[in-house]
């Protein structure tokens, strides 16, 4: 048969143990169900093939790549500066973090450091973006579980962050906020005031979301002990971010390997105990509050100074390779850049947190019911732009 089609029945779904010598056919109780790629709940074009026994999930297989745009190949054909906007489009929900990781990686390769003022601005914008990303996550995750109202609340509050971004760099979502060597734009007049207003505005809103969900009996029943992943499994699967922290591993790159002025701020790392969906929810809510703390400290003492380091107009890093990673809202976002001394990267590899975290889906949903698969996909917090690049 023509192998180049997407016909599932032709392929050996070895991950799902469909055909073994002892059991050449599917058991009569078993059912293969396809979720996606168009599906209101899968947060993008993701196809999940489920093998079910009645309602219980025996195995899953994720088919990804529907949003693959060849970003790494494009990087080899653009200069470092030209590639900067592409980076936002991967995790388009947290574009500022992507830009931060990339700019810092290239700066490391160039052996330059952004000035202090630029670092503070970067921290403030990145933490604002973290809050926005978590708000979007909360809205969509709650919607998947059936609570349709938090979505509107979180999107309304997210608007304030997007307004700040728009005033700062002209774009709401794919911000292209930073440049290699610092920031291009000075903070606009009233930036500190607006950020401080935002802090007082959003703190009670986060309480509002918690009030709707945290002690809600239905929410607890839908999320407790659903999608449990142990700490050892999480580490072995390379899972990072809130998913790892909810399993009990107190690790955050902002503390372990600080970058961009994070070492100057005082904040906690929230962790969970069970590694279930409810803990991941609590961890992300706590992370939003910690982000507020960081922003508050940062915005009160932004140092004066230049916002751009002295980097040449044409960026030509010396020959070498570098790996630099940051704590994006979704996990460890890393850039592995190999430079051959020319203006274009020789190889640019993006280590996407959503891609690696999605791999853990199979471990998390075994034995759960079909209705929980949607909840677990939501709780891993994937963005298909990052999974596929």
């Amino acid at each position: 048969m023509n192998d180049s089609t997407h016909d599932v029945s032709n392929r050996a779904l070895s991950n799902l143990d469909l055909e073994t010598p002892e059991k050449p056919y599917l058991d009569s109780n078993e059912l293969i169900i396809n979720m996606g790629p168009q599906h209101p709940a899968t947060h993008g074009v993701l196809r999940v093939i489920l093998k079910l026994d009645g309602e219980k999930v025996l195995g899953t297989e994720c088919v990804i790549g529907y949003l693959h745009r060849g970003v790494e190949k494009i990087a080899e054909n653009r200069t470092y500066t030209m590639f900067n906007p592409y980076v936002d489009r991967m995790d388009y929900v947290a574009a500022v973090s992507n830009g931060l990781g990339y700019c810092e990686a290239v700066e490391k390769l160039m052996n330059v450091e952004a000035p202090a003022r630029a670092k503070y601005i970067r921290v403030i914008l990145t933490e604002l973006n973290r809050i926005a990303s978590h708000q979007l996550w909360l809205g969509t995750h709650a919607l998947d579980i059936g609570a349709m109202t938090p979505l509107f609340y979180t999107f309304r509050d997210r608007e304030e962050i997007l307004k700040i971004f728009e005033k700062y760099c002209g774009a709401r979502l794919t911000t292209h906020a930073f440049r290699i060597g610092g920031c291009q734009y000075e903070t606009y007049a009233g930036f500190e005031k607006e950020v401080k207003n935002f802090l007082t505005f959003v703190a009670p809103k986060i309480d509002e979301y918690e009030e709707l969900l945290t002690t809600n009996r239905i929410w607890i029943e839908r999320t407790k002990n659903v999608g449990v992943i142990s700490a050892l499994d999480a580490i072995a699967l390379g899972v990072t971010g809130p998913v790892l922290r909810a399993s009990g591993v107190k690790w955050d790159l902002r503390k372990a390997q600080p970058y961009a002025a994070y070492s100057e701020f005082d904040f906690d790392i929230p962790t969970g105990t069970n590694g279930d969906t409810y803990d991941r929810y609590l961890v992300r809510m706590a992370e939003m509050r910690q982000s507020l703390r960081i922003i508050e400290q940062a915005v009160n003492r932004i140092p004066e100074g230049p916002i751009m380091a002295k980097v040449p107009k044409i960026i030509k890093p010396p020959v070498g390779e570098i790996y630099h990673s940051i704590e994006a809202p979704k996990g460890e976002l890393g850039y592995f850049i190999v430079s051959d001394g020319s203006t274009q990267p020789y190889r640019l590899r993006v280590r996407p947190p959503s891609f690696v975290n999605l791999q853990a889906l199979d471990t998390m949903v075994r034995g759960l019911l079909v209705a929980d698969v949607v909840a677990v996909i939501g709780t891993i917090d994937i963005v298909l732009g990052e999974v596929d690049r």
């Binding site: 192998d3 190949k73 072995a236 070498g320 280590r351």
Partner: protein, 211 residues
Amino acid sequence: MAEEAKPPVPPPPPESEKKPAAEGRAAPASAEAAKPAAPAKPAGPVPVPWTSPLVEKYKGQYGSGLDAQTYLGQNYFAVDRSLIPDILRLLRDEEQFDYCVDITAVHYLQREKQFDVVWILYSFPRNERVRVKTQIADGASIPSSVSIWATANWLEREVYDMFGIQFDGHPDLKRILLPDGWKGHPLRKDYGILQQDNEWVQINLGIESGQ
């Protein structure tokens, strides 16, 4: 014989100011004759040998098959292909590099051993990151590290998808990002930026070309 993972021969760097900065930098070679009018550019950072008890141990064990360098503060091992997967397993079991951050590859078309396969590992207890690089030839395969870190499953699938490198012992080595029947491995240097598998596109999407 280990081949030091030499970066490709760089073209002469352009006129650019380099900020004297961070750790791990080699001593700037401003020893050239300094004309008062135009001070000589300091040479860029170069990899320096990485010294640590860990390196001593492994160098003692593997001798010439393993080389350890530091560049811009990041440590890496450049090992012979025959040492994989033992060195990886040792790193996980004995040196507590329990988290495999990334597995990727780089393609050097002009080199005899065309591919650099890179593992980036991190140790939670030690809060250290290390890279392990090896070189393999085109068409050669490399043992899979799925049995060492479960996360290697999808990471190696992507390397296979993009470069065509086979991983022995991988449970399910098939394409992950590109469609199944796609021909070609895009991140190779001989795959053009505008190239695509026209046959696949025509059969499956019913259009002449995606461009």
